[in-house]
Symmetry: C2
Subunit: 240 residues, 2 copies
């Protein structure tokens, strides 16, 4: 029976897909992917490409990122309808998404529209924070500690509260909020235990071990994540 | 130059390793792994086995899980010394660990002892919670929400505080603390949005969508995780 697969492709390196994800990509008939973005293409597509079979049909569709909920809904609805038709006529259909499909991914918008209509299988992917921690040999969290994953787009009071209470944090979607986040890390005594990594495992990866040294003029990449670990974060800097 | 590799093997299915992890396993000269445990063997070893080359030398060593810090330290120290010798005589050495090496893994104890002595490369793995979310088609977290990953061994006040404040939670190391956790989920109005999965992606996987129905006599597996999502958790139950 044909299926719809939501596939996490990880943060950048094509070898960070799971064996399962790579196998499924090879067997797909159709892949849905966002139309070329302003920056000249879809990163998820570049990551997945080495695993495509020759016969794969790629359907470029428009997935708006606008905040206009109504407009967004109707576009996703249209794609969902097309996906359902493809699966019902026996095609294995895939949708690829960066990192882990269940962590802050718009994949969920389409998954929700398919779930009661056709068979949906989601395949986990390596999240950017998991890969940053591994590549920096920096533990995310140990023993009895909690870990808080926080989007920097959250309300400032939520960010303050988390920084006050927890000593292991992942700060995602840093982007244009870097200055605000840096100030808060300083205020809560966490900046010495923080590392910022942009474009993890991509050719353009950048590691900033000292957040104080980042110039205000520096353009922080869209794909940037800060890890904070009060127990291990400063040791990490000493290892250089 | 020879290296030490810390390799995350994911939650259970041998196909949930990354392509990178599988490649590294094939190239290793020596693999260190814990001596057979009471339950008859190391799960990580079973998961990794399909990826071993014929010439791999497996060194079974004793990694105590005792809480006696001094005793634990000296055992890890002894293994670290042996690993360093192996790498210095040109062998590629590996250590495998369940799930993600940077999330509550004792791998960190040995990594810390090697990091300034030899080259250490850690390879990310799929965490149990990432795989549970994917296999249940249940988002961990979306939009501006924070996600809290909490070991059930944490102080009860820490657990209460997190359950009061956050609506997306991952509760790890449930095990013998299940009754306490279930009471707290009930108290904080979260039990309807929770799912418990044991042995994710293993042959013995068990999914409990209604935590209220779990009998007190039920033995909750050591590898059990609860996901809570106030926005998506109850929809998930309706999908059956």
């Amino acid at each position: 029976m044909a299926k719809f697969y939501g596939i996490g492709v990880g943060p950048g390196d094509s070898k960070l897909l799971t064996l399962k994800a790579a196998e499924v990509l090879k067997q797909l008939d159709i892949l849905y992917t966002p139309e070329a973005e302003k920056d000249g293409g879809s990163l998820a597509l570049e990551i997945a490409k080495p695993h495509f079979s020759g016969e794969l049909e790629i359907k470029y569709r428009h997935f708006p990122m606008s905040f206009n909920q109504g407009d967004k809904e109707s576009k996703w609805e249209a794609v969902a309808k097309e996906v359902i038709e493809d699966v019902k006529r026996g095609r294995d259909v895939g949708f690829i998404t960066l990192g882990d499909p269940m962590i802050y991914s718009t994949y969920v918008y389409i998954m929700e529209k398919l779930i009661n209509q056709i068979e949906v299988e989601t395949i986990a992917g390596i999240s950017s924070f998991s890969n940053i921690a591994a590549s920096q040999n920096l533990p995310l969290v140990m023993d009895k500690e909690p870990l808080v994953v926080l989007p920097c787009t959250a309300d400032e009071s939520v960010i303050d509260d988390a920084m006050k209470k927890y000593s292991c944090l992942v700060l995602m979607k840093v982007y244009k909020r870097f200055e605000m986040i840096r100030e808060k890390l300083e205020k809560h005594g966490l900046v010495d235990y923080a590392v910022l990594v942009s474009n993890s495992s991509q050719g353009s990866e950048k590691v900033y071990k000292n957040l104080r040294e980042i110039k205000s003029s520096e353009k922080i990449s869209y794909f940037s994540t800060i890890l904070v670990n009060k127990q291990y974060g400063s040791k990490n800097k000493d290892n250089d």
